[in-house]
């Protein structure tokens, strides 16, 4: 027996409205029949029985119309019992346990609901279960991520700077370069854009500038002759260099990855080296105009020295700057050789040919040694180290400055990243695997390369979403590396062509005319005819109106005999580099933004 004895409830307009089923409302009837309390009040059964009905109905927690239905039926039952002469107490006692009754009624009524509702309920339960599981996984992943700590075991910055740091302090080329740059002041823009050459507008001003800064230029030549550059990268701008690049910001590099430290904007010295290379090139043209072969030779040799210095740090950017300097030196030599060959003595030409041939050990190739160190440094900052080459992603690593770059929601997604992204070993292995493919391709001469094969073997552009998610960044890194691809080969071809041009000039001096074919240069002046990098056959040679032309078949690999617009590539006489080409020098020029040095 419940102790609830509900008081009769008056049903005002709003209450009646609220308790009227929609169906009744649409029929214009304000029945209020969903109001159980009100209906009970009008049921003419004793309060204690009303209390039982209300209690049970309330405990069922059913929908309103279901409650009203149950309340109506229980009320009818009690009314029938009273009509048969049973006492309220007997009826109450015979009712049975209220809670159990409510529970059973609820279960039965819910079972009688529509299939659509039951399907929706099951779907909701399933979704709830899935959500619980996902939340559990997310929490476990979060704990896993937060409890890991990366271990910085190797200082790759030291390793990258090993060659630079080994240069004795009193013998660093950079010290002389710095001095020269400070003496040169603001270099006129035209001197570093390929627009300064004999006969060009402003050439008199150019020559005057170079004459006025003769001592600075001699400093540059002396610097370029030194064995080591000695410029240590990645540790901010030294105070002694600050006057060169006043616009480069001071940054606290503590905890930052090597990639951040060595971002191209932070290697302004490459821009400065590039500027000096251009000055040497223009000075060589000036020297040739004056008939000074010694000075022109010294300038071109200095350009090669700058190229060698740029390569002291084993990064791709440095390599590209070095190749650009080689190309610049070759172009400068080629111009002078074509227009004023008599400027050079035989011995000077021989020396230049030897320098070109011996450059970088004879082979110009892209090196990824530095990039591997950058990658390994990134990995050691991202992952734990279990001592066996494996480890898991860490929150500390993901929060490294520069990695997420303030991406919205990055922190929330970090645990998921921790689950999806490959472990340390798998991540590193994948990088090494793809890098090995790229290096193997670059080890082949241009005529044996197949860009489609490289894409196929690296899976470029065809990786699944899962693969890209498991190995983020790697695809982009490898793609960036592969873009370096043809540059070493093309610079090699320019270099080779210049060696042939020198041999042709020496032949002309000896025999009073040009050879009918390059074969006549062998073996006195050339050990062999260098290959055309595009097809592997010997470089092509023709006499056009009595003048020699060295050329390559070009991308189409078809010798069109230098017909207009035929795709053949003229290697000598050379044209000045066009600034519209992708040019790493432009990158390093940006690095000395505002300095003009």
């Amino acid at each position: 027996m419940t102790e609830k004895t509900p008081a009769p409830v008056r049903q005002g307009l709003w209450r009646r409205l609220f308790n009227t089923p929609m169906r009744d409302l649409l029929r214009g009837r304000l029945t209020g029949r969903l109001d159980v309390r009100h209906c009970l009040g009008e049921a003419e059964i004793p309060p204690e029985l009303r209390g039982i009905v209300l209690d049970v109905v309330h405990r069922t927690r059913l929908w309103r119309f279901e409650k009203a239905d149950v309340g109506r039926e229980l009320t009818a039952h009690f009314r029938d019992g009273l009509a048969r002469g049973e006492s309220p107490d007997a009826l109450a006692a015979a009712f049975g346990p209220l809670r159990r009754s409510a529970r059973l009624i609820r279960r039965a009524k819910r079972r009688g609901r529509s299939r659509a509702w039951r399907t929706w309920l099951r779907a909701g339960q399933a979704a709830g279960l899935v959500l619980i599981v996902l939340v559990g996984i997310y929490l476990a992943a979060t704990i896993r991520l937060l409890t890991g700590r990366p271990e910085i075991a190797r200082d790759y910055l030291v390793e990258i700077n090993a060659a630079a740091a080994a240069v004795p302090e009193g013998n660093r080329a950079w010290d002389l370069y710095r001095e020269a740059l400070l003496a040169l002041g603001d270099v006129p823009a035209g001197l570093t854009s390929g627009d300064a050459y004999p006969g060009a507008a402003g050439w008199p001003e150019t020559t005057r500038y170079l004459e006025q800064h003769g001592e600075a230029m001699e400093l540059v030549r002396r610097a370029a002759s030194r064995r080591g550059l000695g410029y240590v990268v990645g540790d901010g701008i030294d105070e002694s260099d600050r006057p060169l690049w006043p616009d480069v910001a001071d940054v606290d590099w503590t905890g930052r990855s090597l990639s951040d430290r060595l971002a191209s904007e932070l290697l302004p010295y490459l821009g400065s080296l590039n500027t000096l290379g251009w000055l040497l090139s223009v000075d060589a043209l000036r020297a040739a105009e004056l008939g000074d072969g010694t000075l022109a030779t010294a300038d071109i040799e200095a350009i090669m020295g700058i190229a060698r210095h740029a390569l002291e740090v084993p990064l791709i950017l440095n390599t590209l700057v070095a190749f650009r300097q080689v190309s610049l030196g070759v172009t400068t030599l080629g111009e002078i050789l074509a227009d004023q060959p008599e400027v050079f003595a035989d011995e000077q030409l021989g020396r230049l040919a030897h320098r070109l041939t011996a450059l970088f050990g004879g082979r110009l190739s892209a090196r990824f040694q530095g990039e591997q160190m950058l990658f390994d440094d990134l990995v050691q900052r991202l992952y734990t180290d279990d001592g066996n080459g494996d480890g898991r992603l860490t929150a500390q690593g993901l929060n490294s400055p520069g990695l997420t770059n303030g991406t919205d929601g990055a922190e929330l997604l970090a645990p998921i990243a921790g689950l999806v992204i490959a472990g340390r070993r798998a991540y590193t292995d994948e990088y090494r695997r793809l890098l090995a493919i790229v290096e193997a391709e670059f080890a082949r001469p241009l005529w044996r390369r197949d860009p489609a094969r490289l894409d196929r073997e690296t899976g470029a552009g065809t990786e699944t979403l899962l693969h890209r998610a498991r190995y983020p960044l790697i695809g982009r890194l490898i793609h960036a590396y592969s873009r370096v691809g043809t540059r070493p080969e093309l610079v090699t071809q320019e270099r080779d062509a210049m060696c042939v041009a020198i041999a042709l000039e020496l032949y002309r001096r000896r025999h009073g005319g040009w050879p009918a074919s390059l074969a006549e240069l062998i073996p006195d002046l050339l050990p062999e005819i260098p290959p055309d990098r595009y097809d592997g056959a010997p470089l092509r040679y023709r006499l056009i109106e009595g003048k020699p032309v060295i050329y390559s078949v070009g991308v189409d690999r078809h010798d069109d005999g230098l017909l207009p617009s035929d795709g053949d590539l003229v290697l000598w006489p050379v044209l000045r580099p066009q600034w519209g080409e992708p040019d790493p020098a432009a990158i390093s020029r940006r690095a000395s933004r505002g300095a003009g040095r």
């Binding site: 149950v70 109506r72 039926e73 229980l74 009818a76 039952h77 009314r79 029938d80 019992g81 009509a83 048969r84 015979a94 009712f95 049975g96 346990p97 209220l98 159990r100 009754s101 059973l104 009624i105 279960r107 039965a108 009524k109 079972r111 009688g112």
Partner: protein, 120 residues
């Protein structure tokens, strides 16, 4: 006599469907009929009957309708559906099989046999 709940579990719905086979009945009527016709053995309160009826209705064995008698109160009447008839026939066969099996063990409807099975 009080019968164990486990034994009662299947009997209640069967008994209700059996009663509804004759004619439609309302809740109080069913309670009375079960009490009287089974001599109290299958007597049950509202707390048991109505959940049972709702379950039978959810399974489609019974249907219901509200009806107001002439000058009388409204009541909900329950009737056996066609599906309920089929179900009743099935359960009837099952109960007959069960009763025959028990009878084959020597258990009859006579009360004196209960004493013969009582522990010594």
């Amino acid at each position: 006599m009080r019968v164990e709940r486990e034994l009662m579990r299947g009997a209640g719905p069967f008994a209700v469907m059996k009663l509804l086979r004759r004619r439609e009945m309302y809740g109080y009527e069913l309670v009375e009929a079960l009490l009287v016709q089974t001599d109290g053995v299958l007597g049950m309160g509202q707390s048991t009957l109505y959940p049972m009826l709702y379950n039978l209705q959810a399974n489609g064995y019974v249907t219901s309708r509200w009806c107001r008698a002439d000058n009388g109160p409204e009541r909900r009447y329950y009737a056996l559906s066609r599906r309920g008839l089929q179900r009743l026939a099935t359960e009837t066969r099952q109960w007959q099989t069960l009763v025959n099996a028990i009878a084959a063990l020597g258990v009859t409807a006579e009360p004196s046999n209960a004493a013969a099975d009582a522990p010594a």
